[in-house]
């Protein structure tokens, strides 16, 4: 190797090293730290009181903790309960779209003695069923699911997302001028399917002449495909769109360009643009408060929870940047009241 090449080699190494240092640096007083891939006992968002042993919560989530969707909903909720209680530590391992990576993180947190390990993804169920019996003193929560596997140290939680979906569908049908509404879904399972089915039922209940085209892309994470699915919906005449899962940011971007209205779910998506009418927001804190109370009383699992409009676990949040006609707001509120008092059925 000659001197010129050697100098070039060192230059590249220096650049790569600088990039690494820059990325790993950042503000020391940054309140939120998330770790991706390997779980870490030290990194993470921490809320610690002055004294006593901390209550430690770990979250393992499939996508980014700020995805404006599924993963963000649980991280936001844990942040709420940790702020309400003294001496709570929170660690997040996000981006574990590979189930084996999630399983390694769940086992690692459990072996470190975390008080509550949240496996936030129905796809983690098989792994959790194997791991939880090995750590009888650790409490686990997983969702969305309605199965604790008969284990004393597993809680499960699910969302009646069809309820909020139904309300969104009613509003969408009221706002659509073309009479065609498009839905971009990921895979036809879990709360995504519930939401889409509820949305469709709500739209058709409000206007029997409306056409609701549903398109499951087959992926929770393919943003480009979600974007093209939204384009396909618009070309088929849709002037109102909705969708669920973390890849919908691509669809919202298309809706923004085309001036087509958007209804979000799982987390508040108003920050994505003025075309976002409203979002069904999951408030998992409703469940988490009870889980934490139970753990403190010595019960580590065995309960199946559901969030819905009635218990405040699902909330419809309107985008202040979108001017929603008063009659549509009233229609939405009447629908919410009807679902809560049982006079309206979502058909699920």
């Amino acid at each position: 190797m000659n001197r010129h090449r050697m100098r070039g080699t060192w230059l590249i190494l220096a650049v790569v090293f600088t990039l690494l240092v820059a990325a790993c640096g950042g503000d020391d007083d940054d309140a939120t730290t998330t770790t991706t891939g390997e779980p870490s006992g030290t990194a993470g968002q921490t809320t610690t009181a002055a004294s006593g042993e901390a209550f430690r919560i770990a979250i393992v989530a499939p996508s980014a903790s700020n995805d404006l969707a599924f993963s963000q909903s649980i991280v936001d909720a844990v942040n709420v309960v940790s702020a309400e209680r003294a001496n709570v530590e929170v660690d997040v391992t996000d981006g574990t779209f590979v189930v084996e990576d999630a399983a390694a993180a769940i086992r690692d947190y459990a072996s470190q003695g975390y008080d509550l390990v949240i496996a936030h993804g129905s796809q983690y169920g098989g792994s959790l069923q194997e791991i939880a019996p090995d750590f009888p003193d650790v409490s686990f929560a997983w969702g969305t699911a309605a199965d604790t596997f008969g284990l004393d140290n597993v809680f499960s939680y699910e969302a009646a997302s069809d309820e909020g979906g139904y309300v969104m569908g009613v509003m969408a049908a009221a706002l659509s001028e073309s009479g065609v509404i498009g839905v971009v879904g990921p895979v036809e399972v879990g709360d995504a399917k519930l939401y889409v089915d509820g949305f469709k039922a709500g739209a058709e209940a409000n206007d029997s002449g409306v056409t609701v085209n549903v398109n499951y892309t087959g992926s929770f994470s393919d943003v480009a495909l979600a974007s093209e699915a939204a384009q396909a919906q618009i070309s088929a005449g849709a002037d109102v769109l909705s969708g669920t899962a973390q890849m919908v940011v691509g669809a919202v971007s298309v809706a923004n360009d085309a001036g087509v209205l958007w209804f979000g779910t799982q987390a508040n998506q108003s920050s994505l643009g003025g075309i976002v009418v409203a979002s069904q927001v999951y408030k998992w804190e409703v469940v988490l408060r009870d889980i934490l109370d139970k753990i403190e009383q010595g019960t580590l699992g065995g309960t199946v929870y559901e969030i819905n409009l009635d218990n405040g676990g699902e909330v419809i949040e309107y985008n202040p940047a979108f001017t929603l006609p008063e009659d549509v707001t009233q229609l939405a509120e009447q629908t919410i009241a009807g679902i809560i008092d049982g006079s309206i059925s979502t058909g699920q």
């Binding site: 895979v187 396909a232 070309s235």
Partner: protein, 310 residues
């Protein structure tokens, strides 16, 4: 099925197929240069991800999409050089080191996104460039000539790459280094220099592909490419290491995807078949790959590090 054969739907489907093909085309053209010279870079997806984040962040901060593209190019060149250093100078096992570059790109792009941005925030997109005269042609104009400039650049790179690889001295050196590096070396061709150049070109185009993807979508999210870099590598095999073949593969993948999406939207494919239909683009491309690749031979020195006198 009749609702598919309407002007709006047909135009949208073809335009969608072209858009979906572009990042794959850019990345696989770049990879073609490297593989023709004997270097397999499995880290394409990682370079795309860092190019995507770099481009996205530059646009988010400045609002200038061209600066975003430039940042994508710069990151691609840097990572291409790093890949060349690992594969050519350090003679690392190319399969393993490529996975390392991919994981680096996957983790680093997410880490930088979390630290510097946080929540997905929309950015400006490439402006549409209507080709004067051609964009007004009924149907065809909207399908082919009303895209962003990066689409025309990507397809323009196909004949350019054919010319470079087949008709220039540099192209001859690439081919000779990829087929028989010992002979090329004995004739005074620097195997290392040629491979550094091709892998850097590959890195640059992967960076452009990533930046183009993010800026065209107007958003960034963790793992934005969703393994498109790996599909791009498969398309190089599909295209038998020829730019025209690579383009055919990218278009096939893009069009099948667009067609499936449109069929699902219109209910032509029943909702209950959605998950099976989602696999169609990959299955069709793999089947075509099996048929096509058997008729062509890969560069003889592909994945083999070169050591003078060994």
């Amino acid at each position: 099925m009749s609702q598919f054969f309407t002007e709006a739907v047909l135009i949208a489907t073809v335009a969608s197929g072209i858009r979906l093909a572009v990042p794959l085309l850019l990345a696989s053209l770049g990879e073609t240069y490297g593989q023709r010279s004997g270097v397999l870079n499995l880290g394409v997806d990682g370079i795309m991800l860092l190019g995507a984040f770099g481009g996205y962040y530059a646009v988010l901060e400045t609002g200038n999409v061209w600066l975003g593209l430039l940042v994508g190019i710069g990151i691609g060149i840097l990572l291409g050089l790093a890949t060349a250093l690992i594969s050519v100078t350090l003679r690392a096992e190319q399969g393993i080191s490529g996975i390392g570059v991919y994981l680096f790109g996957l983790g680093m792009s997410d880490l930088l996104f979390q630290r510097l941005v946080g929540t997905p925030t929309p950015i400006s997109k490439f402006p549409k460039l209507d080709i004067p005269g051609l964009s007004d042609i009924p149907w065809l104009g909207e399908m082919l000539f009303q895209h962003s400039i990066i689409v025309y650049v990507a397809f323009g790179l196909v004949p350019f790459s054919m010319f470079v690889i087949n008709r220039t001295v540099f192209g001859m050196k690439i081919r000779s280094v990829g087929e028989n590096p010992e002979a090329a070396d004995s004739l005074g061709v620097s195997v290392a220099k040629v491979r550094y150049a091709t892998v850097t070109i590959g890195g640059m185009l992967a960076g452009v592909a990533g930046a183009a993807l993010a800026i065209d979508l107007g958003i960034f999210q963790q793992n934005l490419t969703n393994a498109q870099g790996f599909i791009a590598i498969a398309l190089v095999y599909f295209g038998a290491w020829r730019p025209l073949g690579v383009m055919a593969g990218a278009l096939l993948y893009g069009f099948v995807n667009a067609l499936v999406l449109q069929f699902k939207t219109l209910g032509i494919i029943p909702q209950s078949w959605s998950d099976i239909a989602a696999m169609a683009p990959a299955v069709i491309t793999i089947l075509a790959l099996v048929v096509v690749a058997r008729r062509f031979r890969q560069p003889a020195a592909l994945t083999k590090p070169f050591t003078r006198g060994a």
